[in-house]
């Protein structure tokens, strides 16, 4: 037992030396995550603001002007171009100078006061359908509210809807991206490290030396798992701390649960990484393998778009995606103070994924031994 531990210990030290020996590799562990955290945390947003808008107001009455003023007062629209009727708006939309056009027809105020129902037209750039829909919801809301107010002056009272956003009162998008980036950036770093772990030694021929040493396969495997996991956990904690310091994202859950969740997440990623590594014959194959894992893992995790928008069969398939479970736990612990039972429920798949892939990679090693 003691021998095993000390042998694993020396292997771990050896791995750490390999990773941190090259100054450029050391730089690679710190700089990219830091830059990505700062840039992507603010860039990866589905928020809609600063939209360019074109207004074609043919209405001579006060209602058209009133609506335009209400719209232009909002943060959603930054640049507002005024134009006459004609083909102008088509070219502006085509060339993406504006994303939305409001057209208020000539008889708008008259129709509205006459009680026959007035028409207003919105045209959006469907090349950006998500932003267009949000803008549409916003504009429609402004117009409806206005209609309610003028139809009976006191009805604004009746329409009172009290909206509250739990866990994130002001809907700050960084509160969503920072917990997600803890997982994304950890994956980017850890999967490459662990996928290269065996492939590099194999390409250089040093893996055969390890195999002929008195070390048992389990020991070799542990020597590869532990350093990659430690770096993964350190990376996650680094991003978590920076995210809190730089962006003031609250952390409401238990820190110990978070540490446990990060470790298990790291474990599942390293499992996948070593599995890729044991399949790959060269470093290049390992890198490509890591990539083939990473792209679906990140895109289908709920980071870019919600998991519930996927077709049902794909939602079920995302069970094997460690990122998906990690995002639920991380966001839960950051913002919702998620209770332990709920954390364990989502952590269980991580343990299963990691263990199964490690068993497979161990089996692949020993098979190559014979």
């Amino acid at each position: 037992m003691f021998h095993t531990l000390s042998r694993i210990g020396s292997l771990i030290i050896k791995e750490f030396l390999i990773i941190t020996r090259d100054p450029r590799s050391r730089l690679m562990l710190v700089m990219p995550p830091l830059m990505q955290l700062i840039i992507f945390s603010t860039a990866a947003t589905l928020e809609v603001k600063n939209i360019s808008l074109m207004v074609i107001n043919e209405d001579a009455g006060r209602h058209g002007t009133e609506i335009v003023q209400r719209v232009s007062g909002s943060k959603t629209f930054a640049r507002i171009y005024f134009s006459g009727p004609g083909k102008d708006h088509q070219a502006a939309l085509d060339q993406q100078k504006v994303m939305a056009v409001i057209h208020i027809p000539q008889q708008f105020s008259r129709d509205l006061e006459g009680g026959s129902g007035a028409d207003i037209q919105f045209i959006f750039d469907g090349r950006k359908s998500n932003s267009s829909q949000i803008a549409n919801a916003y504009l429609t809301e402004v117009v409806n509210q206005y209609a309610l107010e003028i139809s009976s002056p006191d009805s604004a009272l009746k329409a009172e809807v009290d909206t509250r956003h739990w866990f994130n009162e002001n809907l700050l998008y960084t509160w969503f991206t920072i917990p997600s980036l803890v997982a994304v950036l950890t994956v980017v770093m850890t999967i490459n490290l662990s996928a290269m772990a065996v492939a590099r030694e194999r390409e250089m021929g040093t893996f055969e030396q390890l195999l002929v040493s008195p070390l048992r396969p389990v020991e070799i495997l542990s020597g590869k798992v532990v350093p990659a996991m430690v770096i993964g956990v350190a990376e996650a904690l680094f991003i978590l701390t920076l995210g809190r310091l730089l962006f003031g994202v609250p952390f409401r859950g238990s820190p110990w649960l978070m540490l446990a969740a990060i470790s298990l997440f790291s474990y599942s990623i390293v499992g996948f990484g070593l599995f890729i590594s044991s399949l790959a014959k060269t470093q290049q194959q390992a890198i490509i393998g890591a990539f083939v894992f990473m792209v679906p893992a990140i895109s289908l995790s709920g980071f870019a778009t919600p998991v519930e928008n996927m077709p049902q069969w794909l939602q079920s398939a995302t069970w094997i995606n460690p990122m998906k479970h990690a995002l639920i736990i991380f966001k839960g612990l950051f913002l919702k103070a998620m209770p332990p039972a709920e954390v364990f429920r989502h952590a269980r798949p991580l343990v299963i994924i990691g263990t199964v892939s490690l068993i497979f990679s161990g089996w692949l090693f020993t098979r190559r031994l014979e």
């Binding site: 450029r24 840039i39 860039a43 990866a44 589905l46 928020e47 809609v48 085509d94 060339q95 993406q96 994303m99 009680g115 129902g117 028409d119 207003i120 037209q121 919105f122 469907g126 090349r127 950006k128 359908s129 998500n130 932003s131 267009s132 549409n136 919801a137 916003y138 429609t140 409806n144 206005y146 309610l148 139809s151 009746k158 329409a159 809807v161 009290d162 909206t163 956003h165 866990f167 994130n168 509160w175 969503f176 290269m196 590099r200 470093q283 290049q284 890198i287 990539f291 083939v292 679906p296 895109s299 778009t305 919600p306 928008n309 996927m310 794909l314 966001k331 839960g332 919702k336 998620m338």
Partner: protein
């Protein structure tokens, strides 16, 4: 004399051809390259065709009825008839709170016990909408749709009671280029930019970094071929591979995923050529600077793939980013390529936009090539 000169002139061409042939043989024998060129793009198209989806399905919300009376039931019906919501009804909000923490519900609507009374007396009826703010985009939609359902219900109610003066504004919203509002229609064209980045930047960086690592690059340098000829011979095969892959993705997008294609093939070929040249230059630059496969892969990911994914306007709206980050997007060619691709598929040939994009990509590409040749030559000494 003349013949000698002619032979000298001929030789370089023959050299480049021989080098290109060597590259092609290498590509065909390398399963990794084939995987990146043909396997990965299809995986990506699958992900962006089915998995990444901004078309909101019905949001699961909880509806709390504090008192079961006709007014409340009528509002409840309005919610369950809405195509935006999947409603679970309960009488105690505490049950729903846990579901909201677990993420199984995206929002709560609380209909107060005094709804009917307040409405009758003309008081404000306080309907509460609670959303899961940990998903801001969803929270926004839930809020907007809930407000819409309630407003429509109120207007209908007033009309039924004959109180309203019928000051109604009919909103007609049109979404040009993408009537059915399928996010797939703009995500798939955008994902072509990611595929091209994969081949141009990541594959090129990896393959050439391996040559540096193994020392075969030095062997090439020792041949009579000049540095330009070597670089040219490296670029041409990947340029062709990139176009083959592009064609495959285009066919899959148009025929399998049924994304409309309203522009012309000539425009597509032209724009993707300009983008691909810049991307190849980026790959070359990374490989000459790192000369190590692991570092090259990490660098290609950081300056190639992730910007193409996040800073290109492919999913995330550039106008919503902070000004500094918006400025940063200008130096990544993916931004111009994505908007051109979305336009060429959905809107048609809009040359003013294409020309502007191509000019920007050409300038970036030129800067990268100048850097590459200076880096590569310096390192030779």
């Amino acid at each position: 004399m003349n013949e000698e000169r002619r032979a000298e002139k001929k030789r370089p061409k023959g050299l480049v051809r021989a080098l290109i042939k060597k590259e092609f043989l290498q590509i065909i024998r390398d399963p990794g390259t084939i995987m990146i060129t043909f396997g990965l793009p299809l995986v990506l198209l699958f992900i962006f065709g089915y998995g990444v989806n901004l078309d909101n399905s019905r949001f699961h919300i909880g509806l709390v009825l504090e008192k079961s009376e006709p007014e409340a039931i009528s509002l409840l019906t309005a919610f369950s008839n809405s195509r935006y919501f999947q409603v679970q009804v309960g009488h105690d909000r505490r049950v729903f709170n846990e579901e909201l923490v677990a993420g199984r519900l995206r929002g709560l609507v609380v209909i107060p016990a005094d709804l009917a009374q307040s409405l009758k007396r003309g008081h404000s009826a306080n309907i509460q909408v609670i959303t899961d703010g940990s998903e801001p985009n969803i929270a926004n939609f839930v809020q907007g749709y809930a407000q819409g359902v309630i407003n429509t219900w109120l207007i209908q109610r007033e009309q039924e009671e004959g109180q309203s003066e019928k000051a109604v504004i009919n909103v007609e919203a049109r979404f040009r280029y993408n009537q059915e509002l399928a996010s797939r229609n703009f995500l798939l064209p955008g994902s072509l930019a990611i595929v091209m980045t994969l081949i141009g930047v990541i594959l090129t960086a990896l393959v050439i970094a391996r040559e540096w690592e193994r020392g075969t690059m030095e062997a090439l340098m020792a041949t009579p071929a000049s540095i330009y000829q070597i670089l040219l011979a490296k670029l041409i095969p990947y340029f062709i591979l990139g176009h083959i892959s592009m064609f495959m993705c285009w066919a899959a997008a148009v025929f399998w995923y049924e994304v409309p294609f309203r522009g012309s093939p000539v425009a597509l070929l032209l724009i993707s050529s300009v983008f691909l040249l810049g991307a190849l230059g980026q790959g070359l630059l990374i490989s000459s600077m790192t000369r190590d496969q692991f570092l090259a892969a990490q660098a290609a990911l950081v300056v190639g793939f992730l910007p193409a994914f996040i800073l290109s306007g492919f999913i995330f709206e550039i106008a919503s980013m902070p000004t500094v980050v918006q400025g940063l997007t200008l130096i990544f060619p993916a931004r111009y390529f994505v908007s051109s691709l979305q336009t060429i598929f959905l809107a048609g040939d809009i040359w003013p936009l294409f020309l502007r994009s191509m000019a920007a990509m050409a300038v970036i590409g030129l800067v990268i090539f100048l850097l590459t040749t200076s880096k590569t030559r310096k390192r030779l000494d």
